[in-house]
Amino acid sequence: MSGADTVGRAAATPGQPQPYAELGLTSEEYARIGGVLGRRPTDAELAIYSVMWSEHCSYKSSRVHLRQFAESAPPSAALLAGIGQNAGVVDIGQGYAVTFKVESHNHPSYVEPFQGAATGIGGIVRDILAMGARPVAVMDSLRFGPADAPDTRRVLPGVVAGISFYGNCLGLPNIGGELAFDPCYRGNPLVNALCVGVMRHEDLKLAAARGTGNQVILFGSRTGPDGIGGASVLASATFGGSDAAKRPSVQVGDPFMEKLLIECCLDLYAGGLVTGIQDLGAAGVACATTELAAGGGSGMRVDLDVVPLRDPALGPAEILMSESQERMMAVVEPGDVDRFMDVCARWGVLATVIGEVTGTGRLEMTWRGEQVVDIPPASAADEGPVYQRPIQRPAGQDALLADDPAALPRPEGGPELRAALLSLLASPGLADTAWVTEQYDRHVRGNTVLAMGQDAGVIRIDEQTGLGIALATDGNGRFGLLDPYAGAQLALAEAYRNVAATGAVPLAVTNGLNFGSPEDPGVMWQFSEAVRGLADGCAALGVPVTGGNVSFYNQTDETPIHPTPVVGVLGVHADVTRRVPVGLRTEGAPIVLLGRTAAEFGGSAWAQVAHGHCGGRPPQVDLGAEQALAAVLTAAAADGLLEAAHDLSEGGLAIALAECCLDQGLGCQVALQGDLFTQLFSESAARAVVAVRPGSERAFAALAARHGVPVQELGVAGGDSLVVQGSFDIPVDELAAAHTGTLPGIFG
């Protein structure tokens, strides 16, 4: 007798109380498990259902909304694998496929910033690896409370160090991302990590266990008591103040083991030794076994006794729930097992056959010789509870929209406009991010074309043809708060525009949806609006959502964060040597503003920095104009008409021009018409500023006219100052001092 709660014992003791509430299940969900099994679950089964039916793994509150991504997705021949897989896969031509995804690691990064952020990188890299691809780059999208808050000073350096440690040790370039600050993220930072991988079409792998008799192999690190209950307790509930005892033990990542795992997996794929594969992330073995078995429509028998343990005291429920890092699970034909083991041995990766695929349609597990699990796998993986949570537009929403920033005092005259520009440029959300990004290796692997400080990260995929990809992530919580539908579309539009500004053709979307508690009807309204906006936006722009991640319960006590959809857009460069950077580089090159400017200050950086104000309406969304602008930018890049291009977003034209000057230290002289304040600081969407290659002015004007994109000639590049004629001028050195001093001043 093992003393374990066996299937037989569960059937014989129906009334035995079980700690389902502590595991995050409601009494209705607990009763539902009993209905599925025809008896109470064993402790091990309860562990499986509690993690698989957690918000984090089951998407039970978001699923009814996320369906729109698939339903209204534009037809795309490029999509090779979509929502529901570990990550979406898109065809980028020449036989290459790219897989990319954003995932959040918000709560773990607050508890233990270094390890939380590091394992966030490790987790998303394994997702990409599980698709059959070689991970080639990462990005990070970070949001914290006010930069000078004590909490931020504790969390930010740890998060950044964790990301750089794990990514740098893995040898993956970090090619960009975001850094934003807002009081709403105090006590609840957002740490979203993106990874992108590359493979040949035929290398695509799926998470499915098929073929009766095929062996199930667990490989990578040993299983320890790391993060037990992380998915159910930590990622799926609001943070309490000081219940330290309930916190699962922090997962500590080992990037060197992950590097071995990457090379080992790629070697296994190359040898054709894998029929199905799944990474182990949240919910560990429980998730990998149920998803593989459910994905293949098969059964699986697993012997938990042979799982290699770091701590021999672990019981079956703990083995199932452990979130130990750097582990994968493969399904392998019996005749290939020896070769599989040889490859693992060569890479120093521990591998163990823990079970086999069966034709029973049941997931069965034994421990100490007794059966502790016997469930239909789909009931845990795919058929969990789905909630239509109550939705209620928040009562204060109208007042928020009515709080028009037009009433705010504005800078007037040259000296005040000059001061406003410098204070925006020095504000933590717009300041130079070098303090953060210099900790990341952006050039390792030798294919980085553009990285931080540019509109998008660009990497070369094929050294012969110059085929490459561009990636940008964007999100603006202030716009999301004012109008979550428009906010999501503005995030999408900005990432789309950023990718196009480098010359890439936007192709596909991933998203990280960060929201408060789904049990709050106001938050659910924000969520449903944001998803609807993003789905509609993707349909209008013709770029499908390929996958993503939902993170709920981002709130401290009753106050949710601003709705923060982070949108990642992937674009393709036919030839990366044609990419367009941000910086001005030639004296006399004409500077042109593309798009229409209106007085739009709701949720703007100026309103926040100058007045701590967030109200009114966010900028108007015009996706047709975004498409036309992107068409001009990509065609102009392909034809070599541009020297520089920069999208306009936070801080408007003023910040965009300053950044164009700062990149190479070359100034510009511009003349603006109409209200100077509006021209400089409005955040109207669908705009970009470009420097035209001298001699290409007419060709560029004709191109813009053909696409119906309004053109406003601003002036020329040159000199050592940013000059707004008739108003003010700022030496580039002074811009640089304002831009670069802020973060080192706060973080040392």
């Binding site: 320890g224 500590v252 080992d254 083991m257 770091r310």
Partner: protein, 80 residues
Amino acid sequence: MARIVVDVMLRKEIHDPQGEAIASAAHRLGFGQVLGVRQGKRFEVELSGPADEAALARVAELAGELLANQVIEEFTLHES
């Protein structure tokens, strides 16, 4: 002058990749009897006054705040 030693170790349940790397290096060097290694840190803190209870309490405070990350580590104090 007193000297207090603070030993910092990862909590028992926390994964220690460095310790594992050392253990496997030990095996490579022929120390086959090594079952496992856990790696920690040792701090020697010099004090101006005597190592009385109040001083120990202050050093414990320092260890909790600065020398150990109590989310994943624990510490012990002793006089050297």
